[in-house]
Amino acid sequence: MFITFALITLLGALGMLLQKNVIVAGLFMVAAFFGVAGLFVLLANPVAAALQIIVYTGAIMVLVLFVIMMLNSHEEEKAQSSRPVQRWVSVALVAALAFGAVKLVLASPGLKALAQSGAATPEAMTLQKVGVTLFADHLLGFEVAGLLLLAAMIGAVALTKRNL
C-alpha cells in the first residue's frame, strides 16, 4: 500500500514538472495530492487525509484551474532567452540536494531508532484530539491564523479589483 501511494504521489509530481500544458499539469497535481492523502491514511491520520482532499484538491487546485482558464494561458510562452547555464546549475543543485538528503536520512542512526521504537501503529487521530490540542494549547495561534486568512482575503480583493 505504501509503495502504491508513494508512486502515485511522486509520478503525479513528476508529471506536473514535465508537462507543457498547464491545465494537464494541474490535473497531475490533483493526482499527487490524492497520493499524499493516501499516505496520511497509512499514517493513521484520517483527519489530515480528509483535510488534504478538501483544502488542496477541493479549494486550492480548483482556484488555480479557474485562474488558468480565466487567463487563457494553457501553454508555456516561448522563452526570450534559453539561459542554459542557469538551467543546468539549478538541475545540478536540485539533484545534489535530493541525493545528499536521501543519503543522510538512510544513514542516520537516530531515525533508525525512532522508526523501531515507534513501529507499533498508534490510535487513529480523531477530530476531538485535534480540537482539544488546538483550543487548549494553541488558542492564540489559532486566532492569528484566522486574522492572516482575513488579511489575505482583503489583500486578494484589493489586488484584483480595478477601482475600489
Binding site: 505504501f2 499527487a32 499524499v36 496520511f40 487567463l71 492572516l148 486568512l149 489586488l159
Partner: protein
C-alpha cells in the same frame, strides 16, 4: 554502503520511507520553481514543497505515538498555503492585466 540495509524498511513504509518520499516531493517542487517559467507552474511547485513538509511532519508524529501537536502545525501550514494561494493568484492576475503575460522572465522590471 551503510544505507543499503534500510532499503526493505523503506519499501514497506518505515519512517525513512516517508521521509524519502517527502524529500523527493520537495526536490520536484523546487525543480518546478527553478526550471519552469510560467508563474502558475512555479506556484504549483511551491504548493508541492509545502505538501512535502506536511508529509515529513505527520510521519514524525505517527512514529512518536500519534502526537496531536503535529496536527495543529499541519492546520497552520494549510492556512498559510491558502493565504499564499489567494494572494499569489491575485498577483498573477494583476501581472496579466498590466503585461499580458504569465511568464516570470517577462516580469523582470518594476516599471511599466
Amino acid at each position: 554502503m551503510s544505507g543499503m540495509d534500510a532499503v526493505p524498511q523503506i519499501l514497506s513504509g518505515g519512517l525513512q520511507g516517508y521521509l524519502v518520499v517527502a524529500l523527493l516531493l520537495f526536490a520536484i517542487g523546487l525543480a518546478a520553481v527553478l526550471l519552469r517559467r510560467t508563474l502558475l507552474m512555479q506556484f504549483m511547485g511551491v504548493e508541492l514543497m509545502l505538501n512535502a513538509a506536511n508529509v515529513a511532519l505527520l510521519a514524525f508524529a505517527r512514529f512518536r505515538g500519534g502526537d496531536s501537536q503535529a496536527m495543529v502545525f499541519y492546520l497552520f501550514i494549510i492556512a498559510v498555503a491558502a493565504c499564499e494561494a489567494a494572494v499569489g493568484l491575485a498577483l498573477v492576475i494583476g501581472l496579466f492585466r498590466h503585461r499580458d503575460t504569465t511568464d516570470s522572465d517577462r516580469a523582470a522590471s518594476l516599471k511599466q
